[in-house]
């Protein structure tokens, strides 16, 4: 909503300048997003008179003008065909930045003749696209005075960003009313005098809606004005409209635009001769079409309201008029329409058709239901004034809905909700200034004015009082501190996420945050991409599927980095992956990957493989668990991993994570170079662990006796896993065997085909006394037997 300062002052008696108006408006909730001040922007441009204009000696199409700038006479070379002696134009001296040409003017020689400045076109000043010739100012423009004033642009324009609830401020008058309530000035009387009709309206209005849908249009008023002469509107009106960005069209149309902007009352003027019979508001018929004023044909449906004559729809109600019944310069008889359209329906119609208009802007926020006829009267008065003619009586169908809402209000609510201690008299004063009627003493009864359809209850009234009195005057008040020392607030799950994050960063991974949606083709590779996980309205086809895994985004990012020459990346993200498109069907996963060969180094660095991924996965699991978790490892993983080089961490049927080298097809699909290994740990699946009654640690069992280590090498079938051997050895004598480490794995010469050798170091920790050789020998034998039993392996000789 744009408001020029001088227009505002038509309704508000104030000496405030644009900046103070903007400040106060913002403070009461009418946020001024910007002040456009052409006078300041165009301060370098002055009114100048062309003394003479001779043809350029070297160019037929150029003229050499002598120009009186008010301070001196300068020579200017000009290409405009309309440059002539005696005219007044807009002069820019050298050094001026010309916005329309995006250049700073210098002193130049044009075809051998010096030019010291420029006579400007509207396009050069970015006033319009007009570039046929230079601006020709009125004869009364004062040479040497600022050009902005002579152009009628000296008026600063405020751009107010209205919140959707403030239908009452979609007009200059409404904004003035709010500012007056905030004591910025005094609101001038806005009363509209009725214009008496001289004949009955030849066109009647009616409301034709099925029962239950009457609210689509509750009131339809109109009148005919005949015998007018429609031409350009007066200069002052054109200036007003242009200042707020509206294009003057013709007197009748300009009047309707003026009333909409000035009073927030949208109207429509039909050329009566193009209408057939009476006018009605009705729902559109399915498939009904209308050629609108924007030159486009719209197909309507029965959810939309139209204004129609006996033949066809003539306007999309509250949104846009029809081209065929529109007013032109030739129009002599008009039918003026002023109606009340349902905000929701109007908004929906505008959205469905993709039309943004000044009428829609006002109707969808809610117009003043009591101003339907007054708006019509105001428009009539202006049309008669500008175009002559004779007005009919007003015809009205229906009437304003609702109104007169009574709100029981206790002024204590201002303190209770707003934290502001104000005397009742001040509260009542503010409400009355805003147009509310207030009665009662202890318990007030407040009736909102007709233009405040947004005010419904005591909380709304508190808001009115607080915003006008000043939010800055609400004293900050400390909240109670329920615990002397703050209590921990994180849930176990939130702590796990935090631990996992810091552990991964400590391991050298860079944390990333990716969108929760990925291209469907990527989702398909990771078990997703089904219809239920598709967005209905993605921002692009590349972001159309909820991610079934965090890995595809990480892979795509690693590839992007590689494309920039950053070949080795350690990336992770902790976030949601989605199991379906339903609320809550998401799990938190910590996923990471090492991509690409590490930079060459004289000390060899380990390239990403199944074992770096396993170490990463176990590190996350360890960091994210309150107690150590020994999750068995299964030798297979999800389909996106290398089938022979990946594993699953599982507790019973519950999968806690995957790790391993990525499947070569996945690596190829993302166009990654070098080896890629990754992991996914499902944070939600990690058991919470027992909460202990105290924080005390268990007793430390540290033997004074020397531990001893024995090595065993087994020959095993190649398919036997290290895990089986370690488990069997570990279980052979639990009381003594403290740990079992694999220190060699060998296949090849000396070992039969299909077999492998696996060497373990077993650490024995005597607890009570030193072991005898016989006892050690007995344990060794138990280990050999246990491994043999579990795996069929034999001691390597």
């Amino acid at each position: 909503m744009k408001v020029s300062l001088s227009w505002l002052k038509e309704h508000l008696d104030t000496s405030a300048d644009a900046a103070s108006v903007a400040d106060r408006a913002t403070r009461i909730g009418l946020e001024v997003e910007g002040i456009e001040d052409k006078a300041a922007e165009l301060s370098a441009y002055k009114v100048a008179r062309v003394i003479s204009a001779e043809t350029h000696p070297n160019a037929d199409k150029l003229r050499v003008c002598m120009v009186d700038t008010g301070t001196e006479t300068v020579q200017v070379v000009c290409g405009a065909p309309n440059a002539h002696a005696g005219m007044k134009g807009v002069f820019a001296p050298p050094g001026t930045y010309i916005p329309g040409s995006k250049m700073t003017l210098g002193i130049a020689k044009i075809r051998g003749v010096e030019s010291r400045g420029m006579l400007c076109s509207e396009r050069e000043l970015e006033l319009s696209n007009e570039h046929q010739g230079i601006i020709e100012l009125k004869e009364d423009a004062v040479v040497g005075s600022p050009a902005a004033a002579a152009l009628g642009l000296a008026d600063p324009v405020l751009d107010v960003a209205l919140t959707p609830n403030r239908g009452d401020c979609t007009s200059v008058y409404g904004i003035a009313r709010d500012l007056a309530a905030a004591d910025l000035g005094v609101l001038k009387g806005g009363a509209v005098a009725p214009v008496s009709g001289h004949f009955p309206s030849p066109i009647k209005t009616s409301l034709e809606f099925p029962a239950g849908l009457e609210s689509a249009c509750s009131m339809f008023a109109g009148r005919v004005i005949r015998g007018i002469k429609n031409g350009p509107s007066p200069e002052w009106l054109q200036t007003r409209l242009k200042a707020v960005g509206l294009r003057p069209i013709s007197a009748v149309v300009d009047v309707t635009n003026f009333v909409a902007h000035d009073r927030g009352r949208p109207l429509h003027a039909f050329d009566m001769t193009k209408l057939k019979g009476n006018m009605r508001a009705r729902l559109a018929k399915h498939g009904e079409t209308i050629l609108a004023l924007d030159g486009k044909t719209y197909t309507l449906d029965e959810e939309m309201t139209v204004i129609a004559d006996e033949v066809a729809a003539r306007a999309i109600a509250g949104v846009m008029g029809g081209e065929e019944s529109g007013c032109t310069e030739a129009t002599t008889d008009v039918f003026l329409e002023s109606a009340l359209f349902d905000p929701v329906r109007t908004a929906r119609t505008g959205r469905t058709l993709g039309i943004i208009s000044d009428a829609r802007y006002r109707f969808e926020r809610g117009v003043d239901p009591e101003f339907v006829v007054q708006g019509l009267e105001l428009a009539t008065k202006l049309v008669l004034e500008f175009c002559g003619g004779e007005a009919s009586e007003i015809v009205v169908a229906g009437g304003p809905l609702g109104g007169g809402r009574k709100i029981a209000f206790s002024t204590a609510d201002v303190k209770r909700l707003g934290g502001l201690s104000l005397p009742q008299s001040e509260i009542v004063r503010i409400l009355k200034k805003l147009g509310f009627s207030v009665s009662g003493n202890e318990h007030l009864t407040v009736v909102p004015p007709s233009w405040r359809s947004d005010v419904h209850g005591p909380a709304d009234l508190v808001e009115e009082v607080v915003r006008i009195y000043g939010l800055d005057k609400v004293p900050p008040e400390p909240m109670k501190r329920p615990h002397a020392v703050a209590q921990p607030v994180l849930t176990p799950q939130q702590r796990r996420v935090s631990w996992a994050r810091r552990a991964l960063a400590a391991r050298g991974f860079d944390e990333t945050v990716h969108f929760s949606f990925v291209p469907r083709k990527h989702a398909l590779l990771f078990g997703g991409g089904d219809e239920a996980r598709q967005l209905a309205n993605p921002i692009s086809a590349d972001l159309d599927a909820l991610r079934p895994s965090v890995l595809p985004a990480l892979l795509a990012s690693a590839a992007r980095n590689q494309a920039r020459g950053l070949l080795h990346a350690l990336l992770f993200e902790i976030g949601a992956q989605f199991e379906s498109g339903m609320p809550g069907a998401q799990t938190t996963v910590a996923a990471g990957l090492r991509a690409g060969d590490p930079p060459r180094h004289w000390l060899k660095a380990t390239p990403p493989d199944a074992f770096t991924a396993k170490a990463d996965a176990l590190a996350v699991l360890d960091a994210a668990s309150r107690q150590p978790i020994a999750a068995p490892i299964l030798a297979n993983a999800a389909a996106w991993y290398h089938p022979g080089r990946a594993g699953t961490l599982a507790l019973g049927p519950k999968v806690i994570g995957y790790f391993g080298e990525l499947h070569p097809r996945i690596i190829a699909a993302f166009d990654l170079k070098g080896p890629v290994a990754g992991f996914e740990i499902f944070i939600d699946a990690i058991p919470e662990g027992k909460a202990r009654p105290t924080k005390a640690r268990g007793k430390l069992e540290a033997s004074d006796l020397m531990p001893l280590e024995r090595d065993f090498a087994f020959v095993l079938d190649a398919g036997v896993s290290a895990d089986q051997v370690v488990k069997a050895a570990r279980g052979a004598e639990r009381a003594l065997i403290e740990r079992v480490d694999v220190f060699d794995v060998y296949e090849g010469k000396g070992i039969p085909e299909g077999k492998k050798s696996l060497a373990i170091a077993v650490k024995l920790q005597p607890k009570e006394r030193t072991l005898t050789d016989q006892e050690i020998e007995a344990v060794a034998q138990k280990i050999v037997n246990a491994v043999a039993k579990a795996t069929g392996g034999t001691l390597r000789s």
Binding site: R27, G29, E31, P164, N165, A347, R348, R351, E364, R365, K415, R416, L417, G418, G419, L420, G457, A459, V462, E463, R467, L471, D472, V474, P475, E477, P478, M479, R481, Q487, L490, Q494, R501, R502, L504, A505, A506, R507, D510, E511, T512, S516, F517, E531, L535, I539, R560, N561, R564, L566, I574, F578, G581, P583, A585, Q586, H601, W602, L603, A605
Partner: protein, 358 residues
């Protein structure tokens, strides 16, 4: 006598001349070994008279000790030489580079979230969470944004395709549905913050289809606008680590709060760096207000007994302001150079005792 001295002098010279440990060992055997010259000499004591023994014993033993000491000293000297030689041969080029210590990073969004949690935890706010995919009811209707309400236009919403049960879930446009979930499941008093991802179909230089918000909600019997003002001011001071902060509330409109405000923070952007608590610029950083009685009602809380406030802060925006990150979009582009530059060390855990940032 002279025999002994000669023997001694000869051995001493030989010891001093011994070239290596092996030669020295041979000398030791030849002098002190079982059949060595000094051993032989000592054996003669046995056949001497007590007087002779008394006279010669100390001399012979003295000789033995001198030779033994000389051998030890020479041995030490030889060892030193050979160790020096070995050490010289073991010299490495210590300027050769080693593997860098792992230097990963925590994303600014996570870091700032942790900072906010540390501050709000001290104010007794618990951390609540909710799903990214939401129902229309929780994202809009229960927040007093009924279908067709113009406020829905403020939220360009991503919708899912219809689900098996016919429902059309959406991606939450704000973290406010966590308010709804909390009020429906917890009895007042309530003090929560709810950080999380939010989505709007909006994408240009300053908007991203996904961004992060933190929601705040307090419901009890007495909390009013003054408390909201206090909490935001205290939070902002702690977060930006400045002794004072200029804060301005502007009346605004959100269907779920009444009164509604927008919160601006005073700053100085002259000189390329942003400073808080001074200057003439105002930056919008939050939307807030008293929870609309209609919302309380729809969430099963008696608006006559309880009241409170809600606020929403942009996490990405706060990160940009505090840490001078110029653009939003690179947050989600995972350029390693950006991550390394704007990311935080694993050890930068925000605490109130150590300061929320390093």
């Amino acid at each position: 006598m002279t025999d002994i001295e000669e023997l001694g002098a000869g051995l001493t010279a030989a010891i001093a001349a011994a070239k290596d440990e092996r030669a020295l060992e041979e000398l030791r055997v030849s002098a002190l070994g079982k059949k060595g010259s000094i051993a032989e000499l000592l054996k003669t004591l046995g056949s001497m008279t007590p007087d002779e023994r008394k006279a010669n014993g100390p001399k012979f033993n003295g000789l033995r000790d001198r030779v033994s000491d000389a051998i030890a000293a020479r041995k030490k000297a030889l060892e030193d030489v050979s160790l020096d030689a070995r050490l010289q041969s073991e010299r490495v080029d210590v300027t050769l580079p080693v593997h860098d210590a792992p230097r990963g990073t925590v994303h600014p969004v996570s870091q700032v979230k942790d900072e906010m949690i540390a501050i709000f935890a001290d104010l007794d706010f618990k951390v609540a969470e909710g799903p990214d995919v939401e129902t229309d009811d929780y994202n809009f209707t229960k927040l007093n944004i009924p279908p067709e309400h113009p406020a829905r236009q403020m939220h360009d919403t991503f919708y899912m395709k219809p689900q098996a049960d016919g429902s059309v879930p959406l991606l939450r446009t704000h973290t406010s549905p966590v308010q709804v979930r909390t009020m429906l499941s917890v009895k007042p008093p309530i003090r929560i913050i709810a950080p999380g991802r939010t989505y709007r179909c909006d994408s240009d230089a300053t908007h991203s289809p996904m961004f992060h918000q933190v929601e705040g909600l307090v419901i009890d019997e007495e909390t009013h606008l003054g408390h909201l003002k206090w909490v935001l001011e205290e939070f902002l001071k702690a977060f930006f680590e400045v002794p004072k902060v200029g804060m301005r509330l502007r009346p605004s409109y959100f269907p779920f709060t009444e009164p509604s405000v927008e919160v601006d923070i005073q700053c100085d952007r002259s000189g390329g760096q942003i400073k808080f608590g001074e200057g003439s610029d105002w930056l919008e950083i939050a939307g807030a207000g008293m929870v609309n009685p209609r919302v309380l009602e729809m969430c099963g809380i008696d608006p006559n007994a309880y009241q409170g406030y809600a606020f929403g802060l942009g996490i990405d925006r706060l990160a940009m302001l505090k840490y001078g990150i110029p653009d939003l979009r690179p947050f989600f582009e995972s350029d390693l150079r950006w991550l390394k530059h704007f990311g935080f060390s694993a050890l930068d855990i925000p605490t109130l005792d150590g300061g929320v940032s390093r």
